[in-house]
Symmetry: C2
Subunit: 333 residues, 2 copies
């Protein structure tokens, strides 16, 4: 067991990720330095932000270096440890990469508890980093108040589905935006949103006008582009806009232009604020406890889209940007 399979970044994608941007190979597992752990990876979290890390545009973490294993959140079992917090056999989650085995500093990992009733893909996938992103973005920046109208784009996605459900828990009227009848049905009937606009069905503005007659108090922004502009035009005075992502624009990160509705920020005194989940690391434990208790109480429904095969990673990742996933997207190694 001294070999592993891994995806390495060989050049920065120009537009959509192509097969030639990363290389898949078998290689020796490197030795552990002091403080490192070796993790046998069970699940890889496939996240929109992966595309940011591939680019060299100005970003919130250093870009992945050319030649390095492509970065990703992973969960698995510790096989060997030279870090005081970990011993072989522990189940852990943290920042690893698209590989069957990861050697990395133990500081980037935490142990995953055994929660009866919650399988690892749910605990690590649906209730992991993406749920924490939803939690902190909505509660810290969105500041939801009972009776307010919350709109969340990419509503059937890993973050959006959590944002909407947490918004409901906090007493908001929650309207999703998703692409297609089935995603909208899922969001309303299974997740309990108050409504969902289908951006593929035409005239998103008219749909939002009907669904949000009193305007939009919180826009949890995941996508950017035209959808963002359409939502912003309907935001109320003193409304908030946690800026979580702009998945529609990641293929051309350096060319992103701000919203056409820019003057609304002034006229309606809107607060727009970007955030990254790791900024709230000190509060992860409390937040995870909330998320797990809501899930166990049936208030937070989860769904994972688990795809087998590390060798198939690029197809799976591209599917995320096309909206082809149904729930939190994970690769089972």
């Amino acid at each position: 067991m001294s070999k592993r399979q891994s995806w390495r970044l060989v050049r920065r994608p120009d537009g959509e990720i192509s097969d030639d941007d990363l290389s898949f190979a078998q290689e020796d597992i490197p030795p552990l330095a002091d403080g490192d752990i070796l993790v046998d990876v069970d699940y890889i979290s496939v996240d929109a932000t992966n595309r940011i890390w591939m680019s060299d545009a100005d970003q919130y973490m250093p870009p992945v270096k050319i030649g390095d294993i492509m970065r990703a959140g992973v969960a698995g079992k510790v096989i060997a440890s030279r870090h005081p917090n970990f011993t072989a056999g522990m189940t852990v989650g943290g920042l690893g990469g698209y590989a069957s085995h990861i050697v990395a500093s133990g500081d980037l990992f935490g142990s995953l508890p055994d929660v009866p009733g919650l399988a690892l893909p749910t605990l690590f996938g649906s209730l992991g980093g993406t749920a924490l992103t939803a939690y902190f973005g909505l509660l810290k920046i969105g500041e939801p108040k009972p009776g307010e109208t919350l709109v969340v784009s990419a509503a059937a996605g890993a973050v959006g589905s959590m944002v909407g459900q947490i918004g409901r828990i906090k007493g908001c009227r929650v309207i999703g935006i998703a692409g297609g009848t089935e995603k909208c049905r899922y969001v309303v009937e299974e997740l309990g949103f108050d409504g969902c606009a289908d951006y593929k069905a035409g005239d998103l503005g008219a749909q939002l006008d009907a669904l949000c007659p009193d305007g939009i108090d919180i826009n949890f922004e995941n996508v950017g582009g035209d959808i963002m502009d359409t939502v912003m035009q309907r935001m109320t005075n003193f409304s908030r806009m946690p800026l979580c992502g702009m998945i529609s624009m990641y293929d051309h990160l350096t060319e992103i232009q701000g919203p056409k509705a820019w003057s609304k920020i002034l006229m309606n005194r809107i607060r727009v604020q970007g955030f990254i989940v790791s900024d709230y690391m000190a509060e992860f434990e409390t937040a995870s406890a909330d998320l797990v208790s809501w899930a166990l109480a049936g208030k937070l429904k989860t769904r994972e889209d688990v795809r087998p095969g590390l060798d198939n990673a690029l197809h799976i990742l591209r599917d995320l940007y096309r909206g082809g996933n149904n729930g939190k997207l994970l690769i089972k190694v």
Copy 2:
């Protein structure tokens, strides 16, 4: 004394304000309704936001109606009152218009105290609405901390000059942006800013790099457009951007596009927040007391550019958008 002179909006400007957009005429002073006061106007505050009120773009107050007297902040003496708070002879300031006499609800006015050492143009002009705008935008949204770098555009202007000086009082390193050597000299030598970039001198980015080696923690944004983009590219993690105005874009309000640096808001977790001074009306008294005490203590230098002649109002107003004023622009009626 039953006649007055007034400027009425006859059509909405398309681009720069033209002579045919407003009409100047002599007319009867209307009778007072219950709750009204009649003010003999001494000074009219010429403010960037006047251009917004002339347009019918979505805005924070109702636009001025076609045919109405053009709205403006005014100071003067009460001649007659049917409002319980006011009696003839009181000096008042409030929301009136470009006219020699204003009949309006007393609810839109407040009495101006007699402060020894501060003339009316200083108290009403420099330390009035524009100073309150600077005060609340900087303190409530900018949240300045000692040692932080604050950049303010339109630094020699009525709002910008106050923002920079209040930033200095709060312990910030303050860098202005102004147009031309003389304005930059004024800002540094007379107002005590730590530096000033001259946007007319070319390569604003390089000037800011030299003046703000550790990046920009607060961008008090007054102008929009290319200057805003250049500043935003240099904002630090967790920096704040009170969005006070976008004077460079008021001629084409409906076409304002957001910053090219939009993705910086996400990557650097910037908070962008629009505000309007009237949102903080409940705290005006405390704020005014601070401003007056700082001015009397010599910590807050003021300068008014008082121009005579109500009939000359359009020339004076246009000069504001060309940056032709030196200090808080007022019309002496």
